[in-house]
């Protein structure tokens, strides 16, 4: 198998709920071994897409291939080879940490001996060994999330689908998880991640698609997208809400593009410091200024006219 083959591909993929179209004809390819992201705001259709890929939601239209198979006809065979981390943790709260892993492994047809060994290995991976025989219920959110991810690995999946793996975690827990995901990628596991954190997408994803309103609005590596849709730097001018409008005309020609947000102006420019000085010279007096590198957040703003995280 070539390493750049598409392990998952969607063509004109559609998901309808009654007469509402949640996914409106998307095309995407995920290559073996890469980390692929679906970035988008609430309701973009990320989870709906993930559920179709994990064979838990039949597609309403278009084509979908997962590991070369059709989810409609080969659901169990596909699910046997993928790992699913749903948006909401659904651990078995009646079982202990260890039992969660063992029982889940049994659902994949593993032998008792195999699941015993696997549980030990995965508890180590999730840093939950000291909680092995404790109930799951009282674990912290981050621990539960790690256990959910560990559980998804019980069948040594070729593809791991992670729906917002770090939502609700503190920064430390997020970084720990990123590190774990990175390790998995190194081992050759294909990762598919949805997120509405652009830093997460930038950190983890080799390639990503930006989704909005059920459609893909852009595709590429994080760096490509930033080069294509944003400038190198951004100057943020923060104003008391409402006052930003008055300054727009004064700074419009200082940047390639100016975005007006409720409490600030974003000036897209190759040289943020130069723009800062010139704005000051023209008598623009924001509460604060900040020069930063462009991010996927800016890409998203450019593409949709809206911010990603409200």
């Amino acid at each position: 198998m070539r390493s750049d083959e598409a392990i998952i591909s969607g063509t004109g993929l559609v998901k309808r709920f009654a007469d509402f179209e949640a996914v409106r004809g998307i095309d995407f390819q995920v290559r073996r071994g890469e980390a692929f992201g679906f970035l988008g705001p609430n309701g973009a259709g990320k989870s709906s897409t993930m559920r179709m890929v994990s064979c838990m939601s039949p597609r309403s239209g278009g084509e979908l291939r997962v590991l070369g198979m059709d989810p409609d006809r080969k659901g169990p065979a596909i699910r046997a080879r993928i790992g699913v981390v749903p948006q909401q943790d659904n651990l078995d709260l009646e079982l202990t940490v260890r039992q969660n892993l063992q029982v889940y492994g049994r659902y994949f047809g593993l032998t008792r001996k195999e699941v015993r060994a696997k549980a030990v290995e995965l508890m180590e991976f999730a840093r939950l060994t000291d909680r092995a025989d404790h109930d799951v219920q009282p674990l912290s959110g981050g621990m539960k999330r790690r256990l959910t991810i560990a559980r998804a690995l019980v069948n040594d999946p070729e593809v791991l689908l992670l729906d917002e793996p770090t939502t609700g975690l503190d920064p430390q827990a997020r970084h720990l998880l990123w590190e774990k995901l990175f390790q998995l990628k190194q081992r050759g596991v294909t990762l598919i991640i949805t997120t509405h954190y652009m830093d997460e997408a930038e950190q983890l994803c080799d390639r990503l698609v930006v989704m909005d309103g059920g459609k893909i609005v852009a595709e590429g590596s994080p760096a490509e997208l930033i080069t294509r849709y944003a400038t190198r730097e951004v100057l943020e001018l923060r104003f008391p809400p409402g006052d930003q409008h008055a300054a727009v005309d004064k700074v419009r020609d200082l940047a390639e593009r100016v975005e007006v947000l409720p409490d600030r102006l974003l000036l897209y420019t190759e040289d943020g410091d130069a723009a800062t000085t010139r704005a000051h010279d023209r008598g623009v007096r924001p509460i604060s200024t900040l020069v930063r590198r462009s991010s996927l957040e800016d890409v998203f703003l450019r593409l949709t006219g809206r911010t990603l995280v409200d």
Binding site: M56, G75, R79, N90, V103, Y107, G109
Partner: protein
Amino acid sequence: MLSIVDNPRRTAVLQRVLPSGSYVGLARRLVERSALLYARAWVVLLSGVFEPLFYVLAFKIGFGALVPAVTGPGGLRLEYAAYVAPALLVASAMNGAVSETMSMFYKLRFDGLYDSVLATPLGTYDVAIGELSWTVLRSGLYAVAFFAVMAVLGLVTTPWALLLVPVALVVSMAFAAVGMVCATLLRSSAQFEYIHLLVVPMFLFSGTFYSIDVYPLPLRWVAELSPLYHGVELARGFSTGVLGTAMLGHAAYLVALTAVGLYGTSKRIGRLLLN
């Protein structure tokens, strides 16, 4: 009992007749999960064994003393406790099956158990058959205990009575299958009352305590719809050793209900979780 999921040949047959991907023959793994849970709560299991003991004792010692011998199947005269015990045995299978399957409501709506299970190779029929098998297994345990109590009290008089245990399994199977469909239809735990509203009259009016011959005809037809009635008839027949071809019909009715219930459960789980 678990052979319905254990037997590879049967698995292959089921896989051919059931919708693609809805059954992979791993239902047993869900039974293991339940067994694991009850291994931690075996006292709960044990308590289920005492319930029938109390019932039979009440009828043998208390109630039976008030009622003279009654007429059983085939005009046989027998003491009241012997008349009512087989019926109570299947009624307890019914109760066990209904209460066990109602817990499916929580697993389905709140715990996300089946969501997590359906992300593995298991399909909706694996879930339905797995939960059904556990319920039947548990009822089997109680039926054996009940039978032992009957034997000790001298209420077992024919070798045919040994078949009371399989009858209890079939009754439990039918009620579990239908109970699961009901559990998937409930929207709140307050609606468990509806289930009680069905089960209690069924318990009282299905020929459990007296023959349904006392009803006028239209009412008898209603009583004959009750799965418990068919279970009671089977149980009483075997318990007294009075057999008849009608028993085939009773068994067929229960088996048919099981099939319909499994089909409905699988469909409902699919509709709710795989949408």
